[in-house]
């Protein structure tokens, strides 16, 4: 209840702070308009036509199922990656050996292009949900893992000693000592992972499945329908913006309220 009240009270200030972001987005749209006027509608349709196409797609009800399918795949892969990555990252961060060992693995996983995973996944999982979900999972895992690992490694040794001196049981060490600190590293990682989860999901659908936004993009491409292509892209980007600023950012603010308290860091 207290939490809800605090969220509601912080809402106007948060929305107000969105004006800057809105202005910068509108500037982008203006540049797009300029480009459209320069190259013509065949190369780059102007924003108004694109948004009209998108509105028509949404109104006819054709867009929702495709968006829902892509969202399901992207979020399933992301959730799996966050669960596995943060768990493993925390464990690896607790041991020096494990964190040293995992470094090259992370480089290896990050260096492997998602498209290569996609080829493998198509062979392993076929044309169902498995392919995009797996590809998203593999693409997001190292990002989340590194965040959790870094967070765990950087916890102040003094606080760890304090926790031992006061005999905190393992549950309290996890929930009251490690997680609040690790969250500061894990959250930015999750936001990055969210972005790549959508990109990778659309890419996987484009090549591997017959439904979802990616498949719809493949159809518009074959029809040379630039307006519809851009409309789909706008829909995906719009959902991404909504998720990041509507869900993740408020959660992050709530979790890190202590950071802004007092305006400065406490003594080490």
């Amino acid at each position: 209840m207290r939490l809800l009240w605090r969220l509601l009270r912080g809402m106007p200030a948060y929305l107000w702070s969105g004006w800057g972001a809105a202005a910068s987005l509108l500037l982008f749209v203006a540049l797009w308009e300029l480009g459209a006027a320069w190259y013509g509608a065949l190369i780059l349709p102007d924003p108004r036509t694109t948004f009209a196409t998108l509105a028509a797609l949404l109104q006819s009800g054709a867009a929702w199922p495709e968006l829902a399918i892509t969202a399901r795949r992207a979020l399933a892969g992301l959730l799996l990656a966050v669960a596995v990555g943060s768990g493993l990252g925390l464990l690896a961060g607790l041991s020096v050996t494990a964190s040293m060992m995992s470094r090259p693995w992370v480089t290896l996983l990050l260096g492997m292009p998602p498209i290569a995973w996609l080829v493998l996944a198509m062979l392993w999982f076929g044309a169902g949900d498995g392919t995009p979900v797996f590809t998203v999972f593999v693409a997001c895992l190292p990002v989340v893992f590194t965040g959790a690992l870094q967070g765990t490694r950087t916890l102040d040794l003094h606080l760890k000693d304090m926790a031992r001196a006061y005999r905190l049981p393992w549950r309290m060490r996890l929930l009251d000592l490690y997680l609040p600190h690790v969250a500061a590293y894990l959250f930015p990682a999750c936001i990055t992972a969210l972005g790549s989860s959508w990109k990778v999901a659309v890419m996987a659908e484009l090549l591997a499945t017959s439904d979802g936004v990616g498949a719809a993009l493949a159809v518009t491409r074959s029809h040379l329908d630039m307006g519809a292509s851009l409309a789909w892209i706008c829909a995906v980007v719009g959902i991404l913006l909504l998720l990041e600023y509507g869900v993740l950012e408020p959660i992050k603010r709530e979790l890190e309220r202590w950071r802004s308290a007092g305006g400065s860091q406490p003594l080490a």
Binding site: H158, M162, A165, L168, R259, A261, Q265, P266
Partner: protein, 281 residues
């Protein structure tokens, strides 16, 4: 001594790799007494405290801790920055599995007793001043009602007035309970003011070179007595050597004539090699 020993250390050696840090430490701390451990920086004081707190395993020798709880107050407050003061103070109680309402009640009582304002209980440590943070750290230790309190230069970052206040609060609490306190400090005045017994540690390797008992009870020592005892402590040749002070001229020392108000008492220390009639070891 009828009281049981709260902390007993026998023949403790400790080394970090090839470097000996502590050598042949013997220490007896009865319940209800305060021992102060003074010594120069890097003489192994903190290592000894970590050993006593169980944060390090003894390599050689034995440490017997009391059955009841022990609590540690560190050099920095070390409060969890993401917890409000009340939760920080109640941390040790929560670790013991005490119910939320009860531990908040105890934390609040302790905080108020130590002079923390009610409003600060709902604030994060970053919002508190240094003195408030130290009070909160002391409250976190005392709220456990420990049988043994280990303190590592807990007041070194505070100004004279605040330090004096916290000394009084600590002594008042310590008299009420039969708590034993091991205080580490490099401030001789603080040691002489608070302790029943002052142990002087010399560096490389850390060993106890002098034991000194200031007169009277800690609560009743006035400023003048504390100054005189600190001066007396500083005249001991082993103490001067431990702190790397130049040796004193005999005329300056004035050890032969006991002060009319009565000074402290020197006790035998195992590792004392000074040949001086005045200090009795």
């Amino acid at each position: 001594m009828t009281l049981g020993f709260s902390l007993q250390v026998r023949g403790l050696d400790h080394a970090y790799g090839p470097t000996a840090v502590l050598q042949g430490i013997d220490l007896d701390l009865p319940a209800g007494r305060i021992a102060a451990l003074v010594g120069p920086s890097g003489c192994g004081k903190t290592t000894l405290l970590h050993l006593c707190a169980g944060l390090l395993e003894p390599q050689q020798g034995r440490i017997d801790r009391p059955q009841g709880a022990s609590a540690v107050m560190f050099q920095q407050p070390r409060l969890l920055p993401w917890m409000v003061t009340r939760d920080n103070i109640a941390l040790g109680l929560k670790a013991r599995g005490m119910a939320r309402a009860q531990r908040h009640q105890l934390a609040r009582e302790m905080a108020l007793a130590l002079g923390l304002p009610e409003a600060s209980l709902a604030q994060y440590p970053a919002e508190l001043s240094g003195g408030m943070q130290s009070r909160a750290a002391l409250a976190r230790a005392l709220v456990l009602a420990p049988a043994l309190l280990l303190m590592d230069e807990p007041f070194s970052a505070l100004d004279v007035g605040l330090r004096g206040q916290l000394h009084q609060l600590l002594l008042a609490r310590q008299v009420q309970s039969a708590m034993a306190v091991l205080l580490i400090t490099h401030d001789l005045m603080e040691a002489v003011r608070l302790a029943d017994e002052v142990l002087v540690l010399a560096a490389a390797p850390g060993r106890i070179v002098a034991r000194y008992r200031p007169p009277g009870e800690p609560q009743r020592r006035g400023d003048a007595l504390v100054h005189r005892c600190a001066a007396e402590l500083l005249q001991h040749p082993e103490v001067r050597a431990a702190f790397d002070l130049p040796a004193q001229a005999a005329a300056d020392a004035g050890m032969g004539e006991p002060s009319p108000e009565g000074g402290g008492k020197w006790l035998p220390a195992a590792q004392c090699r000074a040949e001086h009639a005045g200090h009795g070891c």
